[in-house]
């Protein structure tokens, strides 16, 4: 069987594109290719990855300009057909701006950029992205963002909860979703959500930075492995 293809969309200002590429290429059954934002051909990707960074310098508003690129038009179409899309950090913000995911990001509550390891609870492991994790498993993954303060109106929040769309929540190392463990002020400690259909996931933390023991954690690895395993299963 041919390898699972991760298509990584590169916007001007993306800076985690190569980090994602390294992780995908290291998986036994996967390979990564970079897709320049001006291209309209997603190159038969099985999974689209929107990487972190500062697309278009985050000028105007995070992710606001990226959504107008030719590649994003295709990504929206791809998602509409049920294609798998993973947005990390700035990629999550672009998914929100493109209307593929709910909510919006405000400035972190302390009004500063924050880079550090945080603990996350896998609130929903019944997805194509998280099936390799245990239910409520606590994992350690870094964050690095200035605008990660998730917000949404009450109705949207109610639906996110009701439909089990909240996939990752900030917690402490014991799994307690306390306000102290919430690094950026996100409502309900939300760190990552999935769309209702279950094929588009966005999260602020960086799983691609937690796939190597030398970097301090391998807890992000299962996310990429889950995707590969589930795409392979679908093919069979």
């Amino acid at each position: 069987m041919s390898k699972i293809k991760f298509g990584i969309v590169v916007f001007p200002g993306s800076n985690c594109d190569h980090d994602g590429e390294v992780v995908c290429n290291a998986l036994p059954d996967a390979e990564a290719r970079l897709i320049w934002h001006r291209e309209s051909d997603l190159q038969q990707s099985d999974v689209i990855l929107l990487p972190g960074g500062f697309s278009y310098g985050d000028y105007l508003r995070t992710g606001a300009i990226a959504k107008f690129s030719p590649a994003m038009t295709e990504v929206v179409r791809f998602a509409g057909q049920g294609g798998l899309v993973l947005g990390i950090c700035n990629g999550f913000q672009i998914l929100q701006e493109s209307g593929l995911l709910e909510g919006a990001m405000m400035r972190n509550i302390n009004r500063k950029f924050i880079c550090k390891f945080v603990s996350l609870k896998v609130a929903n492991n019944n997805t194509l992205f998280t099936s390799g994790y245990g239910k409520d498993e606590v994992i350690r993954i870094p964050i690095a963002h200035g605008d990660g303060n998730f917000t949404a109106d009450a109705e949207t929040l109610r639906q996110l909860q009701e439909n089990n769309q909240v996939v990752f929540r900030y917690c402490d190392h014991t799994g307690d979703e306390s306000s102290e463990a919430n690094p950026n002020g996100s409502l309900y400690n939300i760190a990552g959500i999935i769309n209702r259909r279950g094929n588009v996931l966005g999260l602020m933390p960086h799983p691609e930075r937690a796939c190597d023991a030398l970097l301090g954690s391998t807890d992000g690895q299962k996310l990429f492995e889950s995707l590969v395993r589930n795409v392979v299963a679908e093919r069979l």
Binding site: N15, C115, P142, A144, R209, L214
Partner: protein
């Protein structure tokens, strides 16, 4: 070529000695300009000479001394000053390009943009060589945090460094922040970048090959930053606020595009030469690249002008941000995110395409000549025609050796309180919360320290940062360091210690120190006592670099770090910041700073505390905080022992004996022990230790705990390995004693059987991690420093 003489433009002021002086040129220097040109310079030419001969570009008051530093070694692929940054071979066909630079004066008046453009500028120095930046470091100095202005500066500088580096996508992995009243009016902001390049793919800053095309790429040219280099070459005063327009404005997004486009362009092989535009902008890159071409041509001479290369450019072709910019302004603009490229004739189209893809401007503005001149046209007229070589450092730029006179600082050593009157636990906690010692988490969490997924160490929890090199087993260790208080007290010894401490930090990880870049921050070199400090510190650094076989690969000198308030002029402490790179062949053998396993043996390796020539507490943070005095000298230091210690650390790491290694520096032995316990928030482990003062020693408990005597390291090892480690130390003629055991959630320390510390790790940790936040956020917090 044209015969017409350069012309001044109608609106320009008349050039004479007064105007030259107001441009910062000395009378003798203006005379030299007249002699070189054989006529009165045009206004544009005066601007060109004044920036090229400014301290910032010419190093006129420092270069004679800098040449005494060790500047070559078998691993160096470029001698110091030869390229934009130092270049060190690390095997596997790879080289490291690295450099540190100051952006002090811009940061003093506009902290956010000043610091941001400092980061941007140093990154360009690295990727203009064809190297991809892999890590950033910095070294910062501010006044006391009790002052609102200082908090404003700190917040602006940190946000500026973060916003620029984070968007640019290079991790900020290590640094240092110190607070002292001497930096109140003149903070120091030094930024360092480290890049990787394959041998044979290094791009050079040279213009050669007649007819080759000169291209300007990146941002358009505006009026920002004009005379930034001159501004950097004078003291800060009340008038400096008016220089705010001299501060450039940074755009990390454009820089990121420029990085990718530049590396892609260099990879085509069509780039003959390339130089970034930093200080003195177009002027500096045109003249330095031409002069380098002349030097490489082996050169002829026509009418006293060195020939073999040169440049002719037309300013009408330069993309500008504003209408009506004069030639003077375009030549002197320090607009950021620009590069000057010499492209092979006929290949410029391929390069233009690459920049177009990255949505950057790229325009051919001229061609390479051979007559030795930098010739500048504007509106169809020649506005400047200057021989290149006399403009540049190493060519005709002035070189001065200034008068040096020692002036002992007005300091004293206090009468110490008897040990039995000291509440040691209180003093230890106080020290852990001192802004100079406490965790800089408030700072480093604002920096992306992990992007590019090579960061093998957690920010803040290490002696030196470790950056893995993908595709190899290797890692680079890197660090910036300088205790300026020591340099102030004893410039020669302090200069040596700055190098030694950096090398020791690198050796603590198991890595071998390879090379040094430096940023020499001093006061006004025309003052003999300042020049004395400068000379002595440089000589001290040189001696230590020779000992450790770590040549100086390049760097930057920043003079005039003085501020005026009323009639009072304050110079900063002499602050020669060292940036060092080390190599670890196997990243899996890296040693971290913090205690790792319950029940490990804690050993203290290094010099005995007592030396005949100095008081134990001299120069220490404890002395300053507890007694308000600096003491008379830098702490005890032995260069030979230091070298043996670093060799030993590398040996012990290679033999896998070390579970942790952390050096004793600011705050002394007890601070080092506490840091081993708390620095890594995910791994906090207590200890029980027992120390003894030496019988009949003049040193008591205060000296034992708080002395900053150099050359000492706290290590933890598996108990069965302790004997072997002691034997290895003995074989190197280094004392090594067992002082305790790791484990539990308490930190317990006794001296001569009497307990001086018995506290929960959590308490020390809380103090260590929160003190800086409290100092910054409490508006009215007298006495925090």
């Amino acid at each position: 070529m044209t015969k017409s003489k350069p012309e001044s433009q109608a609106i320009e002021p008349e050039v004479n000695l007064d105007l030259a002086k107001s441009h910062g040129l000395l009378e003798e220097e203006y005379e030299k300009v007249l002699e070189i040109l054989g006529r009165t310079p045009t206004y544009t030419e005066l601007g060109i000479f004044s920036v090229m001969w400014s301290e910032h570009c010419s190093y006129k008051n420092s270069i004679a001394l800098l040449k005494q530093l060790p500047r070559s070694g078998k691993r160096l692929l470029a001698d110091a000053g030869e390229e934009n940054a130092g270049l060190v071979d690390i095997g596997d066909g790879l080289a490291v390009a690295f450099k540190i630079e100051s952006h002090n004066h811009p940061s003093a008046v506009e902290p956010y943009q000043g610091a941001a453009t400092g980061v941007g500028g140093i990154q360009r120095d690295i990727f203009t060589m064809g190297a991809r930046p892999i890590a950033s470091l910095n070294s910062l100095r501010f006044g006391p945090l009790t002052l609102p202005r200082v908090r404003y500066l700190l917040q602006g500088v940190v946000r500026g460094i973060g916003d620029y580096g984070n968007a640019f996508g290079v991790p900020t992995v290590a640094g240092e922040v110190y607070f002292d009243p001497c930096y109140t009016g003149n903070p120091l902001v030094n930024a360092m970048s480290v890049g990787l390049v394959e041998h044979g793919k290094v791009a050079r800053a040279v213009a050669k090959g007649e007819g080759n095309r000169v291209m300007i790429v990146g941002s358009s040219t505006g009026r920002d930053g004009i005379h930034g280099a001159t501004f950097a070459s004078e003291e800060i005063s009340e008038k400096s606020e008016a220089k705010r327009p001299s501060v450039q404005v940074g755009d990390p997004f454009t820089e990121k595009l420029l990085l990718e486009a530049t590396l892609e362009a260099i990879a085509t092989g069509f780039v003959v030469g390339i130089q970034d535009m930093g200080a003195a902008g177009l002027t500096c890159s045109c003249s330095e690249m031409s002069a380098k071409g002349i030097e490489q041509s082996g050169g002829g001479e026509v009418n006293g002008v060195a020939t073999g290369s040169g440049m002719e450019i037309d300013l009408d072709l330069v993309p500008v941000r504003e209408n009506g910019m004069t030639a003077y302004e375009i030549m002197l603009s320090e607009s950021q995110e620009r590069m000057l490229i010499v492209a092979q004739k006929g290949r410029e189209g391929a390069l233009l395409e690459i920049f177009k893809k990255w949505e950057l401007e790229a325009v051919v503005i001229g061609a390479v000549t051979t007559d030795g001149f930098v010739r500048v046209r504007h509106h169809g007229k020649i506005v400047a025609e200057v021989p290149a070589v006399p403009l540049v450092l190493g060519g005709g730029a002035p070189v001065y050796i200034r008068e040096a006179v020692e002036k002992k600082p007005d300091v004293k050593f206090p009468v110490l309180a008897p040990d039995d009157e000291i509440d040691f636990e209180k003093e230890i906690l106080d020290l852990l919360g001192a802004p100079n010692i406490a965790s800089k988490r408030w700072v480093y969490e604002q920096y992306d320290s992990m992007v590019r997924t090579n960061s093998l160490t957690l920010a803040g929890a290490t002696d030196a940062a470790l950056i893995g090199i993908k595709g190899t087993a290797k890692a680079l260790a890197m660090k910036t360091d300088c205790n300026a208080r020591y340099v102030y007290l004893n410039p020669r010894k302090g200069g040596m210690i700055a190098v030694a401490e950096c090398a020791r930090n690198i050796a603590c990880t198991g890595a071998k120190p390879l090379g040094v870049t430096n940023c020499l921050n001093f006061g006004n070199p025309y003052k003999p006592e300042i020049y004395f400090q400068f000379r002595e510190a440089v000589l001290g650094m040189g001696e230590a670099c020779r000992k450790f076989d770590t040549p100086i690969t390049g760097g930057n000198v920043s003079f005039y770090n003085e501020s005026k308030s009323g009639d009072e002029v304050t110079a900063v402490y002499p602050t020669p910041v060292i940036g060092m790179i080390g190599l670890l062949d196997d990243a899996a053998l890296a040693v971290r700073s913090t205690f790792k396993h319950e029940g490990d043996a804690i050993l203290l390796i290094g010099l005995q505390l007592e030396t005949p020539d100095s008081e134990g507490l001299t120069g220490s943070e404890y002395l300053v905080r507890r007694y308000g005095e600096l003491g008379l000298d830098a702490p005890a230091f032995d260069l030979d022992a230091e070298k043996r210690l670093q060799d030993l650390l590398q040996l012990l790491a290679a033999k896998k004996y070390l579970r942790s290694a952390h050096d004793c520096s600011d705050g002394g032995l007890v601070t080092a022990l506490a840091e081993c316990s708390v620095m890594d928030e995910t791994l906090q482990l207590g200890f029980t230790a027992e120390l003894r003062t030496v019988l009949n020693s003049k040193f008591g408990v205060q000296e034992l705990l708080f002395s900053e005597a150099q050359g000492r390291v706290v290590v933890s090892v598996s108990p069965p390995d302790a004997d072997a480690v002691m034997r290895e130390a003995l074989a190197m003629n280094l004392p090594c004693i067992y002082i305790g055991t790791t484990g539990g959630n308490g930190c317990t320390l006794s001296v001569n059987g009497k307990e001086v510390l018995n506290a929960k790790v959590g308490l020390l940790s809380h103090r260590y991690f929160n003190a800086l936040d409290e100092s910054i956020n409490e508006v009215n917090s007298p006495g925090t420093l």
